[in-house]
Symmetry: C2
Subunit: 137 residues, 2 copies
């Protein structure tokens, strides 16, 4: 996880009270959309969050350590999954490539984070019986 996720993600993923190691197991989740080759996973979600926070695709890319080209490609992929854009661009902004996470984009990110949190809870509950089975790192 890079800086971008620390804002929203770390608040949501509050450390569980339980001290067990299973309680610290985390999901890494991709959503496969019906009839779509494109997937929505943690990398694209972090990127959308970073666009929302930096106000540009290049700024988001820099924050996540990826090239502008790569960041633009991933944003395009997300926008192609849906009929409404998650990110819209404009000529403004400090880098001349201002980008805005739309209301739809924000709702999508929030839904993904809720799914992720529910999965984390499922992991903790279903793997609890294996607490003593985890090998030392």
């Amino acid at each position: 996880m890079k800086d971008a996720s620390r804002g929203i993600a770390s608040q949501r993923r509050h450390r569980p009270q339980a001290e067990g190691r299973i309680a610290r197991c985390m999901p890494r989740l991709r959503i496969v959309f019906d009839g779509q080759p494109r997937r929505l996973g943690p990398g694209k979600i972090e990127l959308l969050e970073a666009v929302g926070e930096t106000g540009s695709i290049s700024g988001a890319g820099r924050r996540l350590g990826m090239s502008y080209r790569r960041a633009q490609l991933l944003v395009d992929e997300v926008n192609k999954i849906f009929v409404r854009p998650a990110v819209v661009t404009s000529a403004g902004g400090p880098d001349g490539d201002g980008a805005v996470l739309t209301e739809f984009g924000r709702a999508l990110v929030a839904a993904y984070r809720r799914i992720e949190e529910r999965t984390a809870i499922a992991i903790r509950e279903e793997l609890a019986p294996f607490e003593r089975d985890l090998a030392d790192p």
Copy 2:
């Protein structure tokens, strides 16, 4: 999913309102274990299931279209995550490399499948508002 579900799926496609496309979105889930570089995802789980069904690592590898070497590597990785083995091998079996999915291995696979199902339910529920936002494939 095999042939049985293909019938159902294509029937659904002719009746788009009967069950929405969001309902057919699927998770692709990896579990990141605390302090472990190794992850447990759909490929390893399928492999464990195939070992349980074929009774050998080479048979499981063949079924999944992977080399024996690759199948053995993945089984070893799973066994290193835990202090108890998910798969044990013996000299017997039709290929001379008999392998058994242990009771622990079966419990682990079952837990993963339950987590996956709970995630699928979370996806359906949390993404339901976006039913009309999915682009055509």
